[in-house]
Symmetry: C2
Subunit: 419 residues, 2 copies
């Protein structure tokens, strides 16, 4: 899949005058268009709702844009709940999907009226004690060896998430007996998967389980959350999924299982993150150094603090040298960051045009799990996030960290007096 | 090696009343004793100086303690330089070892009078332009295929660090011609290595290179920095290195090469981090949940935000269940954090005593590259750092992050007005 940039080199040179590199920049128009295309495709499903996984791009401006487009949010922690609240997202527009959850997080989720998604049968008692059993409740299913996972999320039977099949039935009974009235079912067993059939298969599995839940407990589920995990085409040869194909496949499974078993209507939810913003965010960085030793290295002013996926997953991110798109790709480089950690490389043995000091590199597909995963190792500071607006203007939606931020939890006066 | 704790369960219960879990706690007495033992062993080497690698434990109290014990610091970035300056460490007590360095960092290092360690021959010109060539200068050597690396730091010939053999000779000549007067040589090619011979071999390699440097350039090196990378016994079966053995081996190599070639005196430096603090820091966390699905999971109130090594390196960290040290280790658990990332596990298939909700777990050897590598993924907040003083009192040396810290770079008023 060709990688097209929403900005020219000249545009970026203009942006850099105001906002120095490195920064993440998100393409608002592309995010909105994709969100509309996504919702349109899945609107053939009963009561469809997408809960954007905040962890992918935890920026309130992005949440606000997606909320305007009709998305809810999936939160995994108290700070994510608080961010959503500040953006004006409340009630059942929030799904709270956590694991190993502290009581305070359940209390906040309940206070916001969020749909609470329980990760374990033991959490029923824990939740009841923390805040009482809400009217609406969801359970996360882990199919165990019945399904395969991926490298990132692991095999379901080894994964820490969700309830087993038998626990699901028991948990619904307990929840019903404790006063819950409306029920949902959820799973999330894959990450960054491009095989459309996988998601249809997941829907079928959950629909069949819904039938069994009804048979064993008498509970008609109100909604089924198919989870997220749809991948994006990081590599040029990757083929993006067709939203329409997945939606049609899920619809067929719904008709064949839910409708046939007289369980219609069941609302269908999803919680995609990467698919919604990943492709439409870019890490823009400048070349500080060229180094020629046993290999050729391009040293940028970004590092793992800005994008960790290549270092920890060996993930591929496409790199464009701005203004040299049409030059021959005759040079082989490692594109590195400045961390004292050898895996701090954005690309290894990558064919690229000849690079000079000062060149601007765009690292693609950094719109999800990019800024979000940044750390401060080696005292590195996290960068700014910018938004390319539909009218071509640029808004700063998160300022870059400063040394003062890095020192915020330290008390240097105390150090001075320390004996 | 048996893992001994410097605190009892009762002591920790007392600490938790004031400082809720999770937190890192460092044992001041043990750090000081180890520092003294380390310096004593290596004092047989000419002009020995240890520059503590700030990145391992970037806390100003720890730096102050180590400085009191006679250590310098090795900094890798501007924030680390600034932290050292605030602690009162300046001049040649600082070694500045960076790579892919921005000009502003060289300027600050020069202003502080730090020893600048150049990572590449091209940095000579870059440094000259940024701030001028200082009197004292060091070069980082990369031996390429002549030496083997480790999984973490990679093969030297693929690593982004340092100058080749031929570049070393050329770089010294250029630096001399540009007015540098005092010269050092450095390497760092291994991480977390317990084989003593490896470090002696590294010293020998550098000493031989020093002879060659003299022969080819007429430059007598003033110091040689052997780097760090000495490992600690994470696993019970690991044998800690003997400081004395390494010091003796280096001394022999020095006599056989440096002295024999009439290059004596050359000062010997090191830049250990992990070895200095790693063993003496503990991550203390409470069990929030027990979960039994396809495996048995112990859910703690810590996560990758507090300690990332198991998740990204598959690293082993020993776990003690406080107060149950003598119970039978009859249960097999995955000890997990609360991140929506399946590799957020502190231990996998670990035999432990039977664990109950509320138990306190101590995760050992978290004193280096522990807090330092924490991120805010999933909106998780980084925890406090405490210091167990020699008199048994406990001082907070870094407060826990708050949601306000997490939101510090965001402008929610802007979000409200955002159209």
């Amino acid at each position: 899949m060709k990688k097209i940039l929403p900005f020219s080199k000249e545009k970026v040179l203009g942006i850099i005058k105001k906002y120095p590199t490195p920064f993440h920049i998100y393409d608002e128009m592309a995010i909105r268009k994709n969100a509309r295309r996504f919702l349109k495709a899945f609107s053939i499903l009963e009561g469809f709702k997408e809960y954007f996984a905040v962890k992918a791009t935890p920026n309130p401006y992005i949440l606000k844009i997606l909320h305007e487009e009709g998305f809810g949010v999936d939160c995994s922690s108290l700070p994510e709940l608080l961010m959503s609240e500040k953006v004006g997202i409340r009630g059942e527009e929030i799904m709270f999907t956590s694991n190993d959850t502290p009581a305070i997080e359940y209390q906040k989720a309940k206070q916001l009226g969020a749909i609470i998604n329980l990760d374990d049968i033991s959490h029923i008692e824990f939740l009841e004690k923390a805040t009482g059993i809400p009217n609406v409740i969801c359970l996360r299913f882990n199919p165990g060896t019945a399904r395969k996972g991926t490298d990132i999320i692991g095999k379901p039977e080894e994964a820490k998430y969700g309830l087993t099949r038998e626990q699901i039935f028991e948990a619904y009974k307990i929840l019903k007996s404790k006063g819950a009235k409306r029920f949902g079912l959820h799973t999330m067993i894959i990450s960054n998967e491009l095989n459309e059939d996988y998601f249809i298969e997941t829907a079928r599995m959950l629909f069949e389980l819904a039938v069994e839940v009804y048979q064993k407990t008498g509970i008609k589920l109100e909604f089924i959350n198919l989870g997220g995990g749809i991948g994006i085409p990081y590599k040029l040869e990757d083929k993006p999924v067709s939203y329409e194909n997945i939606a049609r496949g899920v619809k067929n499974a719904y008709n064949n299982i839910i409708v046939k078993n007289n369980l219609h209507p069941v609302k269908i939810f999803m919680e995609c993150g990467r698919l919604i913003t990943g492709t439409y965010g870019y890490l823009v960085t400048r070349v500080l150094h060229l180094k020629h030793t046993y290999k050729n290295f391009v040293g940028t002013d970004a590092c793992m603090a800005n994008l960790m996926r290549p270092a920890i997953y060996g993930a591929y991110h496409h790199v464009t040298v701005l203004g040299k798109e049409n030059d021959p790709y005759n040079n082989v480089y490692d594109v590195t960051g400045s961390l004292c950690e050898n895996n701090d490389k954005f690309a290894i043995n990558r064919k690229l045009p000849e690079i000079e000091r000062g060149d601007i590199l765009v690292i693609h597909d950094a719109g999800a799990h990019g800024f979000a995963m940044g750390f401060n190792y080696n005292g590195k500071l996290r960068s700014a996030e910018l938004l390319l607006r539909e009218d071509g203007s640029v808004a700063q939606i998160r300022r870059a960290e400063t040394v003062e931020d890095y020192f915020a939890t330290l008390d240097f006066a105390g150090v001075k007096n320390f004996k």
